[in-house]
């Protein structure tokens, strides 16, 4: 688990006002992103450990994780395929892409394959509207996706 805790508390004098500037909490998201990248999710044990390190409550860590789409408390598949549901994608035929993925993977959007290798999800606009329909495969942005490409994409993931 990557730890980048900066436990500095700085007290500043500002005229008559004194306020405490605590930067430990600012480390929370980078830590969570690190754990998510490494383990694919943030477990109960990790959440409580992180909370203890940063001096915050576990429920606050849980709250932050559930707020962001890319952080999860449940273990998902080894690979994430996210299909953009941006309107430009819909215009360009993203519905066909969704159906093809569902057919090939034999799961519905939001589910994970039985061998736990791939999770299929929808996501908001990923900034690839000029190359719609576009998807995200883990960190990669892939544009101009056609049903023919899907088999190849999945094969690469299953072997990796």
């Amino acid at each position: 688990m990557e730890k980048e805790c900066a436990t500095k508390k700085i007290i500043i004098r500002n005229g008559k006002e004194i306020f405490v500037c605590d930067e430990t909490r600012s480390q929370l998201l980078p830590i969570l992103q690190g754990v998510q990248a490494k383990k694919g999710y943030i477990s109960d044990k990790d959440m409580q450990k992180i909370a203890g390190e940063l001096g915050i409550h576990p429920v606050e860590v849980y709250s932050v994780i559930t707020f962001y789409s890319f952080l999860t408390v449940e273990k998902k598949g080894k690979h994430m395929i996210r299909i953009s549901n941006c309107i430009s994608g819909e215009i360009a035929g993203s519905e066909k892409i969704v159906k093809e993925f569902e057919k090939v993977l034999k799961i519905k959007v939001g589910e994970t394959t039985k061998d736990k290798k791939i999770t299929l999800e929808g996501t908001s606009c990923i900034g690839m509207c000029d190359e719609a329909p576009a998807i995200m495969v883990d960190d990669r942005l892939i544009g101009k996706v056609t049903p023919k490409m899907i088999n190849k994409i999945i094969k690469e993931l299953k072997c990796g």
Binding site: L29, I87, C129
Partner: protein, 402 residues
């Protein structure tokens, strides 16, 4: 080539670090005056005068200040920052350095949306190179005491974090829920320190303005909207991509440039913008007329506009932070309303109620997301009356389950 049309400002010629060199000559006051003179307004969509923002931050008498680049472009139909960041990385950072010089900041952040994580190594490489060149780090370009460096913070899939206070909250490790304003980030920002948050394009534009002068900038565009806008055009057009146009260009001209035909409607400003029908294609792109952060989505006559409205509202429903009542509770009501409209079961009276709700959301929501979430629906329902029929029934649909 993803950049389809090179424009007068952002894509104009400039030598590396020319802006920064000029900025060092101008000094803090000079930079602030130049940016103010240029009438530059934020290019992220909100359009707040940049010079004013930077002046507020510069005036605040606190030891620490921050410069933040908002690279959380999540507005549907916007991809210009993706292109600007990857093709003009150095210029973006240079703009941030100039901002730091202007307000007196020593630390800057690039808040990069999680979806662009694959570009992280590219940006880190660029930062390394700039540190080697002596434009980042201590005593930048030999100016003693001018220290500034940039860190990259990643987002994690939340459109609302594009709102500046939500962005700051996210950087602080909180839920990305916008804050009460006032106080504004320029007074109380990241961890309580004065912070300026600007869009990628704004920073690039600042570099050009500093090098070429406020007068040069004001000559481009209109009287009230100086300069140019980088657009990301997509949808039903032959040449989707990134275009830079001077302010004052009409929708008609934009459609021509992008190779669009049989256009029924253009969504200007993404899901939080308005839907312009064909009858208004003479309207101009400018802060005083049609304002946008860059997103232009083209719809031809095959598209059903109510489906478009539904897509936008579903997007807002997913991305709303859920803090304030009008946005969190209002969006599902509007979504239900669209479903009724599509089925032909919406009465005239209920439509009136929905419009009243839309007004409330625009006036009473806590942040820009809530305030603009109902705009698309209102403009589509108003401008495309032929695509739906109202129910003549007197009874209102009142049942709702979960």
């Amino acid at each position: 080539m993803r950049i389809e049309r090179y424009g007068p400002v952002v894509f104009s010629e400039i030598e590396p670090y020319a802006g920064l060199k000029q900025a060092l000559r101008l000094g803090k006051k000079g930079i602030l005056n130049t940016v103010k003179e240029s009438n530059l307004r934020g290019r992220g969509g909100a359009g707040f005068p940049t010079g004013l923002k930077w002046s507020f931050a510069a005036e605040t008498d606190l030891e620490r200040k921050y410069v933040v680049c908002n690279a959380d472009e999540g507005e549907p139909g916007t991809f210009k920052d993706r292109v600007l960041l990857t093709e003009y990385t150095c210029l973006v950072f240079e703009g941030m350095i100039i901002g730091a010089l202007a307000i007196g900041a020593e630390k800057g952040f690039l808040y990069l949306r999680g979806e662009y994580r694959s570009f992280l190594s590219l940006f880190e490489k660029e930062l390394k190179r700039m540190r080697k060149d002596g434009v980042l780090g201590k005593n930048i370009m030999g100016k003693k005491g001018f220290n500034f460096d940039i860190d990259i913070k990643l987002g994690s899939g939340a459109y609302v974090c594009g709102e500046e206070t939500a962005l700051i909250e996210s950087m602080e490790g909180q839920r990305g829920e916008p804050r009460n304003r006032p106080p504004f980030p320029v007074n109380t920002g990241y961890n309580g320190w004065p912070t300026i948050v600007n869009n990628v394009e704004t920073f690039i534009t600042v570099v050009h303005i500093i090098k070429k002068g406020a007068d040069w900038f004001k000559k481009i565009g209109t009287k009230k909207s100086a300069g140019s806008k980088v657009l990301s055009i997509s949808g039903d057009c032959k040449k989707p991509g990134v275009y830079e146009v001077a302010f004052g260009v009409s929708i008609k001209d934009i459609l021509k440039i992008a190779g669009a035909a049989n256009t029924k409607a253009v969504q200007v400003g993404g899901a939080s913008g308005i839907c312009v029908p064909a009858s208004e294609f003479n309207r101009k792109l400018a802060y005083e007329d049609l304002s946008t952060g860059g997103s232009v989505i083209v719809f031809n006559e095959k598209r059903k506009m109510l489906d478009v409205a539904e897509n936008f509202l579903k997007f807002f429903g997913e991305e709303s932070c859920g803090q304030c009542t009008p946005c969190r509770e209002g969006i599902p009501v509007l979504l239900e309303g669209i479903k009724l409209l599509k089925k032909g079961e919406c009465t005239k009276n209920y439509l009136k109620d929905l419009f009243s709700l839309a007004e409330t959301m625009q006036l009473a929501s806590k942040c820009g997301l809530g305030q603009s979430s109902s705009k698309a629906l209102v403009s589509i329902v108003n401008n495309f009356t032929k695509e739906y029929t109202l129910s003549k029934s007197k009874r209102k649909e009142k049942k709702f389950d979960g």
